[in-house]
């Protein structure tokens, strides 16, 4: 990739479509591999996109994931159309979850998603507006 090049991947994520949850992350991971991004960076991006995909699938009315890759960094924007997170501080606590039993039976909803996304990010931002939606922005720098 030359310094001016930028690759942008964009995916729509549907609510409660668990059969498709993971497709966006899987595709993103394959693209990063092809671009020759180091494997530890690729794994961190994969974790962030996958946690985001699962979150949008479980909790939201649908949303999208946009991954922008340039020479220096990878930025992941996960945006949904509501219902929004009433208390972000609580949502960021390890172990806090509002997921249903159905979701827990599938192996998710342990309240580790957002903290894990933050752990894997160099920069992490979350904004939420009740009724409107939530946007999570994660930046991961590519080392040489």
């Amino acid at each position: 990739m030359s310094s001016r090049d930028m690759v942008i991947l964009s995916y729509r994520v549907n609510p409660e479509d668990f059969a498709k949850a993971g497709d966006a992350s899987s595709n993103t991971k394959k693209v990063l591999k092809k671009l020759g991004i180091p494997s530890d960076i690729t794994r961190r991006v994969a974790i962030v996109t996958y946690e985001a995909e699962i979150n949008i699938t479980i909790h939201s009315n649908g949303g999208e994931i946009i991954v922008s890759i340039d020479k220096a960094k990878i930025e992941i924007i996960a945006r949904d159309y509501g219902p929004g997170i009433p208390d972000i501080d609580r949502a960021m606590e390890k172990g806090y979850s509002t997921a249903s039993d159905h979701v827990r039976e599938m192996g998710f909803g342990a309240g580790m998603g957002l903290p894990n996304m933050k752990r894997c990010s160099d920069e992490f931002q979350i904004e939420s507006q009740k009724g409107k939606g939530t946007t999570v922005t994660s930046t991961i720098y590519i080392h040489d």
Binding site: G22, M106, A110, M112
Partner: protein, 120 residues
């Protein structure tokens, strides 16, 4: 530990990725909670689980997990198997429970990821 060694000591049946049994793993992690797998696992790890849905394979794919061992006689569904083949993973089924499977592997020298100091 090589995957073929794991197969032998667990009396396991290999149902995907048979041609790739010469891969080596350094750690094992047992969980039915994929959230924990996403938070704790590193590469060269084999996953032990009793959960059989396709999200297990997706999770393993994200974490670069080369092999999954289904415990207590569980078998993944067809969608899971197809996804595993697509991603070059090895899938095994053992009749032993999670606890016994873990004990057998630990006794044979395969360590837990606690020893990497990642679990806090």
């Amino acid at each position: 530990m090589y995957l073929y060694e794991i197969r032998d000591i667990l009396d396991a049946e290999v149902i995907a990725g048979m041609s790739r049994m010469d891969r080596e793993v350094d750690f094992a992690f047992g969980a039915d909670l994929m959230s924990d797998v996403l938070a704790f696992v590193n590469e060269r790890t084999v996953l032990l689980t009793g959960l059989t849905n396709p999200q297990v394979i997706r999770t393993a794919e994200m974490m670069d997990i080369a092999a999954i061992i289904y415990v207590r006689g569980k078998r993944p569904d067809t969608a899971s198997l197809e996804l595993a083949e697509e991603n070059g993973m090895t899938i095994m089924c053992t009749p032993y429970t999670l606890y016994t499977t873990s004990g057998i592997l630990y006794n044979a020298g395969l360590k837990g990821i606690d020893e990497l100091g990642v679990v806090t």
